[in-house]
Symmetry: C2
């Protein structure tokens, strides 16, 4: 039900995924009176793989997370997360209110023992392929221990979804020298240095998309991570808009635009934010994927596919085991 477009986007995206992936089963959670008419044909086509779970309420995009949690016990996101808790679903995907989704997920699923705070991780394109960044906004103030926990969790996710042994882990800072940064970052660096992670040191803001060395996972507190993510979105929007304007300036520019169109289109696909849609909530005892609220059909499809990948790769289980192991090690130390 969530996101800026609701079932108009989530349903076609769901059907696309069912078509592409015969192993996928989807439960659409929301108002049956709205969903059923939109699905009549599909329920037959995907018999046994597609079902509706009725939820009488819906959390508004601008609703306070605390109020949603308290008052809307039959909201679509709450019911969907309950399915994860009860083992009836392996993951919940939502384009709804981020704060409410996080608060509800935390309340219903609970934290992995040893993790203090959940974190939001997503993938961004880079000149080396892509980079995973966390936290993207769940936590406005992080201690060094929180940052270290994020690194441990993110490292397991990257290992699993990218199928690599030792992800290069960087800590976001305002310089690469030891003296740079605030106290939390400096203390987190010490924890990372003495860990078994493949810690490559401080990286700067440009490393997200185009650093001088490749980095697989960038760890940052949620305030800085969120600002960086949105700053990148703004830069990309300005450049895309400027290009469009430039190629519409006059007839000659329009002709040039037509000639260049196939090249520009191919390039755009490569960094298309819809191909990177879907952020995972880490630290919870269950898988919850947040889609961008403004996601269209392709973007929401990407988020569903991400959930499927993380289920297949057993990401939550791997994180839980690693956290337990790390805690056992610190207890011995």
């Amino acid at each position: 039900m969530g996101g800026d477009h609701g079932p108009k986007v989530t349903i076609p995206a769901s059907l696309d995924c069912l078509k592409d992936n015969p192993a996928l089963n989807l439960i659409l959670v929301g108002d049956e009176a709205i969903l059923k008419p939109l699905l009549s044909q599909a329920l037959g086509d995907y018999l046994g793989r597609l079902s509706i779970r009725h939820a009488s309420e819906c959390v508004a995009m601008d609703e306070s997370p605390a109020k949603a949690l308290k008052n809307k016990k039959d909201s679509s996101m709450r019911v969907a997360i309950n399915l994860v808790r009860d083992g009836q679903a392996d993951a919940c995907v939502s384009a709804g209110n981020t704060g409410a989704l996080m608060a509800t997920a935390r309340f219903v699923l609970k934290m992995i023992p040893g993790i203090d705070r959940p974190a939001i991780i997503s993938t961004l394109p880079s000149i080396f392929g892509h980079t995973h960044v966390l936290d993207l906004g769940a936590n406005v103030d992080c201690t060094a221990e929180h940052l270290f926990q994020f690194a441990v969790m993110g490292n397991e996710l990257v290992k699993a979804v990218d199928s690599i042994e030792n992800p290069r882990v960087g800590l976001l800072n305002i310089g690469e020298e030891d003296v740079k940064g605030n106290e939390q970052v400096k203390a987190a660096a010490k924890l990372l240095e003495s860990s078994s992670l493949n810690y490559i040191g401080y990286v700067e803001g440009d490393s997200i998309n185009a650093g001088h060395i490749p980095v697989d996972l960038i760890v940052v507190d949620g305030f800085v991570g969120n600002v960086a993510l949105k700053a990148i979105e703004g830069a990309a929007k300005m450049i895309a808009g400027g290009l469009k304007e430039a190629f519409n300036k006059n007839l000659l520019a329009k002709i040039a635009g037509l000639v260049a169109y196939p090249v520009l289109k191919l390039f755009k696909q490569r960094i298309d934010p819809r191909r990177y849609n879907g952020a995972s909530f880490l630290g919870l005892r269950g898988l919850v994927i947040k889609s961008h609220g403004g996601a269209d059909r392709l973007a929401f499809k990407t988020a569903i596919n991400l959930a499927e990948l993380e289920i297949k790769k057993d990401v939550i289980q791997k994180i839980s085991q690693q956290v337990e192991k790390t805690l056992a090690m610190s207890a011995r130390a």
Copy 2:
């Protein structure tokens, strides 16, 4: 002497500025033995407007600011800043080591009474024209009062250089709702709301380049500001590189690139970072402009022109007066 390229860039840029602006006088500070041979012709051409001030030392780009300040009392940046202190120069422009330049400027020029910390401000392109952002990295931890002081100083600079009455001032946060953000940002918002500034509220990271409403000045702590700035640089670099690669992929793409070249070039000029080079140190009792270390001739020229504009607009004097006025008001309150 500073920057990645030294006099090879700074001298041609200086001569360009002297040529363009008959009212400009420049003192080039550095090793006379290096500078003089490069200037023999120009010293005659710009008689009375161009001179060399010898400085026997030079701060390395990776030297510790504390060591540079302590050990290199005859460094080119120290001598240049001394000229500002002594009224022999109206501004100092340097492409050298940022930390050393800041430490030296602070030590030699002292702070404006009432300002606790210096801040770095620069201009970035936006879909509405441009946006000024501070702090870009001088301070890793800021209190609400620091952020407020940055706003007061930045506001005077924007009024002066953009010739506008009431700059729209935004506070960088991870959401636009009141509940968002950390304690410092929330407290700074209260100070800004009760001030005489044209405070428009919280803005998000995308507002730097492409928000949904125009903002003239964005206030942020130096850690977040620096990461955002570099994240934008990284995004722009990735997109520019990707475009170049796309237009070189095969013969057809190359032809398309040739046709599109004039359009792409015009667009590139509009957001060319060299046209935005030059960051001002605010809060000091004298004008110091930091050029990007990697600046080329055009970029360094932009930094010199920025210094000239801020001199003409009397930015430092206006900031000092405004700070005094604001302090007097708080004392009465």
